[in-house]
Symmetry: C2
């Protein structure tokens, strides 16, 4: 298969990207082809410098770069020769089977959505990330592609993330939880309540009901569904909290004897490795008619290598075909149940502690 | 002042509550009075058993108990002699200057809102919690009272939480951040954008703009504002993640030599203590015409003691008067700016990565 990678995406580009691609190349099959997209004059010398490679690596010139903080849509329009713009066109023209970028997330989502279009039956794509927890991996969708979700979007995220967890993470019959503010059925806003009705109506879905923030780490579900605003807060909060806590532990250790601090270092390194998102490579943009992975801006070569392997696994497992098949079967009663009514946004419809007596 | 405490609230009631009240009693003034509300036959023997006390402790009989998982409104209506119902009536009849409960949060919010009413100028109360972070305490509001926020609610949370941080945590000119999915102005949904306009329009507010989930732990703001759904997810996610991470560390240590594990225990205990929410006692329900604290269901006697001291500090600092004064001054231009338009809930108005070019 042909995997195109944004060579200029992220804080460590292009070095980490090129290295990661070459590392992955060692592990791919002879028939696979990697395409690095970015300024040829920057990338080609780096490839030549590296010696060992198995899979062939091609370079497609894209002299412009979209910065991490540039406004997505505007920069895409202005920089038609940027690596992200070129990447999305490769996917559109069927010149790449998968695209990967650690660049500006907003620009990636906008470009990939615009060029690759949605899978049949999918209304809006969602970004799925895997949280490595003590109780096993939890797939969370959406973490930022769609901040104005409708119940039907959330239902589709449950379907897609469930199929993803089954085929990518080998989770049998994944338990799906719906993010809310209490486990009881009556808790949550109108969108949560209507999404719950859709999920319950699907007898093929292993729906375990509402979950709360703390449940992600308690092993009660394999898939957690939320709108992109909440998911994005969850993703970044987790990152900030883990970093903050490790900083606090380091600070406390510094007040101890150096020998003790040194002895504890390998323990912390083990934990960091075990729960390291870099192992999962990147976040799948589920629901696109193709394979698109978005990596963290701080991606290292190892992250890129794993993202390339994940893209191959996703493509080879024909996950998109399975999503189309599932949604085509479930569509009749789901469409009937969703009825796409507008969500009310009045205070009366969002009491935090509503109950059945109301 | 008179502080009424729900003796039956939380997992460790009534023992932890009675002990906490008696501990606080030692630290209060002679003129202060504590009122324990709950089944007299359960509480009185526990008070008699304890010897030393300075402040007087009264008991008001409330034979019924609302369970932690009972539906709030329905149980309040059925159990008129429950500790939470009696507590809220004491506040209403001006028989208590402050109320505290570690019981069913939903029932507390419903009862206190219904009986105590809002402060003049406040549309909806919000729950404020203090996150002890490595960079200092961060006050987050709302964490679950109001899951269908309007921009004016969020603006008022910023005002109230700012005054709270200034007077309760001695933070000078608190920096207020608005929870969103990116720091740039263009990021966020329509509610975030309209709230930002209100916050910017207030020249007395030290508004630092949008923040992301990770920023809570990075020292960029002293106050973080969000709707009750997002805030509740943040609160519970943080709790779950911290517990999960400590569990993982413990697990890793167990694979080490016992001596090393034992040496590390005091370090972890220090960290746990330093970032322990029990130190802050409980969460203030800001915007009520009175003083109401809601404590965590797992509250220990220390938590209750600290909650009683926090209630006294809040009351004595006349924070509610300061909120009324601030809002009465800001009301003219804020009302002009907010105009209470209904929020649109269409996909076009909530693109995650919208930018100015649209």
């Amino acid at each position: 298969m042909r995997i195109a990678i944004d060579a200029m995406g992220g804080d460590n580009a292009p070095d980490a990207i090129v290295s990661g691609a070459l590392e992955a190349g060692q592990l791919l099959d002879d028939c696979d082809r990697l395409i690095l997209v970015g300024p040829a004059k920057e990338i080609e010398p780096r490839i030549s410098a590296a010696k060992s490679k198995k899979a062939s690596v091609a370079v497609i010139d894209a002299p412009e770069v979209i910065g991490m903080d540039e406004p997505p849509v505007e920069s895409l329009r202005k920089k038609v020769k940027s690596s992200i713009a070129v990447l999305s066109k490769l996917a559109k023209r069927d010149q790449a089977d998968a695209v990967i970028s650690a660049g500006n997330t907003g620009a990636c989502v906008a470009a990939f959505q615009m060029r690759m279009r949605n899978l049949p039956g999918v209304n809006r794509p969602g970004i799925a990330v895997v949280f490595p927890t003590f109780e096993g991996p939890v797939t969370i969708c959406d973490v930022g592609a769609n901040i104005a979700c409708k119940p039907i979007n959330l239902y589709q995220y449950a379907v897609m993330a469930g199929i993803y967890a089954h085929h990518m993470l080998a989770v049998n019959n994944p338990r799906v939880g719906l993010m809310s503010i209490g486990q009881e059925d009556a808790k949550g806003n109108e969108m949560v309540k209507r999404t719950r009705d859709l999920l319950k109506a699907d007898s093929d879905m292993n729906f375990v009901g509402n979950i709360e923030g703390r449940d992600i780490f308690k092993g009660v579900c394999d898939v957690a569904i939320c709108d992109g605003f909440v998911g994005n807060v969850i993703l970044k909060l987790t990152e900030g909290l883990v970093n903050g806590l490790f900083k606090a532990i380091k600070h406390e250790l510094m007040t101890e004897k150096l020998r003790l601090a040194m002895k504890f270092k390998p323990v912390m390194t083990r934990i960091y490795k075990k729960y390291d998102y870099n192992e999962y490579g990147g976040a799948l943009l589920l629901g696109l008619n193709g394979t698109a992975l978005i990596c963290h801006g701080t991606s290292q070569s190892r992250t890129i290598k794993n993202a390339i392997l994940a893209a191959k696994k996703f493509h080879m497992a024909k996950i998109n075909d399975k999503i189309i098949e599932y949604l085509s079967k479930s569509s009749s009663y789901i469409v009937h149940n969703s009825q796409d009514k507008p969500l009310k946004n009045s205070q009366n419809h969002g009491r935090a502690f509503d109950d059945k007596s109301r």
